[in-house]
Symmetry: none
Subunit: 237 residues, 4 copies
């Protein structure tokens, strides 16, 4: 199945061969690569080199290396985790400021809410309402429920992204949330009023989505994000 590797950049060659085999569908997700000791024979390389290649593939999210009897290198379903991680690195690197992040989010949230409103299925809506209920419960617990509320808040936003059905929005927003979190926790002066306001916004967005009113949902989401960004920038000064 695989060709013997010629010369320089041996591990790169191995990576490319396996990657190509996966991309072309010759290796299906869930199936297994041969054991390391056999692969190294097929490629005509040493085990160390092979392991470097497998590491790179693992890092790319193409394979998962498991130990044990049913272990080995298993082809993974391609997903957007890596995309999120890369975006996260860009954000954390401060080449992306909080302001950039907020500005970016403004545009996205509106689009996502609008798409969610257009495509919401009944099951999705039920899920949204349940999350909203949870959030309300956390809010009533007072200060000790704040953390849980913020987490549920985030879940609602991600659920909206999921409802948009667009993998790209999901991946990018997930990454944005994962990284905006630290800013919120450090910079935002959380207060009961703020959380309540936040909760009201969420309720409005969910209502608009339930009625499949895309433009209303977009507008609600946009205002919601814009108001929060305003709070954060004020605080940061």
């Amino acid at each position: 199945m695989f060709k013997t590797v010629k010369q320089n950049k041996a591990y790169q060659d191995v990576v490319e061969q396996i990657q190509e085999a996966i991309m072309e569908g010759a290796l299906k997700p869930g199936s297994q690569l041969p054991a390391e000791r056999e692969l190294k024979e097929q490629f005509g390389i040493s085990r160390g080199t092979l392991r470097e290649a497998l590491r790179v593939l693992e890092q790319k999210g193409l394979i998962e290396i498991r130990t044990g009897v049913a272990g080995g290198s298993i082809i993974r379903e391609i997903n957007s985790e890596n995309l999120s991680e890369n975006l996260g690195m860009l954000i954390r690197n401060r080449s992306v400021s909080l302001h950039d992040l907020a500005e970016f989010r403004e545009g996205m949230e509106g689009d996502v809410a609008a798409l969610a409103a257009q495509r919401a299925a009944k099951g999705d809506l039920a899920q949204l309402v349940e999350l909203l209920g949870e959030a309300g419960g956390h809010l009533k617990q007072g200060r000790k429920g704040w953390d849980a509320f913020i987490r549920t808040d985030e879940q609602i936003h991600l659920e909206l992204a999921r409802m948009s059905g667009n993998q790209l929005f999901i991946a990018v927003l997930t990454s944005v949330y994962r990284n905006i979190h630290t800013y919120y926790e450090n910079y935002l002066p959380w207060s009961k009023e703020l959380l309540q306001e936040n909760f009201d916004d969420l309720r409005n967005i969910v209502a608009a989505v339930s009625e499949h009113d895309a433009e209303a949902a977009r507008q609600m989401a946009l205002e919601h994000v814009r108001r929060f960004n305003g709070y954060m920038e004020k605080k940061q000064v």
Copy 2:
């Protein structure tokens, strides 16, 4: 009650430590990591394990490994290459469809154009106009200028992103363009009329940006993207 145990592999630990050092700025781009033989001492691991870690970092785009007398592991500027690569894999894998990509672009282009209109400096505008001139030139060359026109078209869009001043938009849009290219080339029934229409759109957008009319720019950009997406989807059927 108990958490699932995550098998901490030695090389992973090394990756995280170096990555963290880079992210926190303890290691600046351009600077060099200590030699492998010293690093392995600092981490208390073997050379093989260290090399696996360095490969992963290289794959992540965080370092560049050079051979030779002045060689070693050099810290790289963080860039969006990896983001593009991941996006490319998702697209090739059909996890992200053309429709997803187009939908995503619709939202983003409008935002970017609006921001560019708000923030355009004189130098930026001159650059835009120059690019527009180039595009016009290519268009007049007839069929043999088409390729050059499409490239210039893309450059104009990226210049708008650059003018927005938002690193996140720049990184994400760059990745999107790098990958949407293949679709355009393969699926779109390029014709003289189409290119002319495209050129007119660009001129309108640049005009709106020049007048700092954010909403007009947004609207122009949105329509432009939407129309093209329409052509592509029709063709795809």
Copy 3:
């Protein structure tokens, strides 16, 4: 700049999680851990690894593993048995000589006797007197009562430690006695006079404790121990 990598073994992680749960009181003594087949699910590990973890916990004295249908891992009361065992290994390993042991005992016995004198309750004193009576009885039986006498002697000392109310003294002295025994049996030239002298010492110590005379008790105990140590060292030469 970088830390040495600690290879985190899966079983260690499990040990720490369970130990922490016990220490924090989340798992109360007497309660039961879930069955192995369920625990392995919770931790996401194999049964073999889990069993290694349970063995370590058993060895630490934190759990007791029972077989059978109502069996399983039962949380134990934390006690000082292990402390004694470890101290015992140190002593047996000859890194602690008889002389070291004797010297150590000199300091401790005085302190313990003084504390016992200060804190003796009536019930405690009655117990002491009863033990003293037993010892006297054994002494009268002649040679065949010697062994029993020595055992009762030790019990009196441990009772004094118990009366001090200090768990640390109890644990350490228990361990010392458990391990000094071998020396006494092998090296000391037991004789009727020696036992009688020993008995008189005990009577004096008990008397001082009964009168709550801490300093007298300390002095008596110190002399008692010191004289015996003298005999032993003479013999050893």
Copy 4:
């Protein structure tokens, strides 16, 4: 060398055989046990069972398991680490209170100081004086030197224990110090005056030890410890 295991508690049997071999000196510290795959043959058990046995021995501090080509199960020098861990558990569990610990220390420190005074060699004294100098230096640095001072303080006490030449005192005191630390750091209201007082005490003790005045050293140490215990108990209320 080892016998085949019969039936019941296979792993226990293995533990005992190896432990006995170590205790009797048949296996010297630093030497290596055969590889797992060979040991399992010798004992006639499976690898899993053998590993359970090795885990127990590792937990007991009798062997150290290393990975890699020169790896395997290596016989360890018996030390007091385990003793410290056990003591720590008893303390965290409140089986041994701070008061117990302090009371225990009172008795021991006096004895240790007296023994150190009797046996101090010139090299030992030089070492003591050097540590004292360090402590003085840390003290002059003000608040930022406090931590270093406390650590040096502890080192001086342990040096005294080492000078006593009694392994038992060394082991027990080391364990006590390792665990009393947390109390000092959390409960004691450190202040400049307190540290100065502490430093003066240390100077007096070292002076007495230098003059080989055992009783003075004992008295100084006792007062030193007692005063500190007083502060801590007052604070705790």
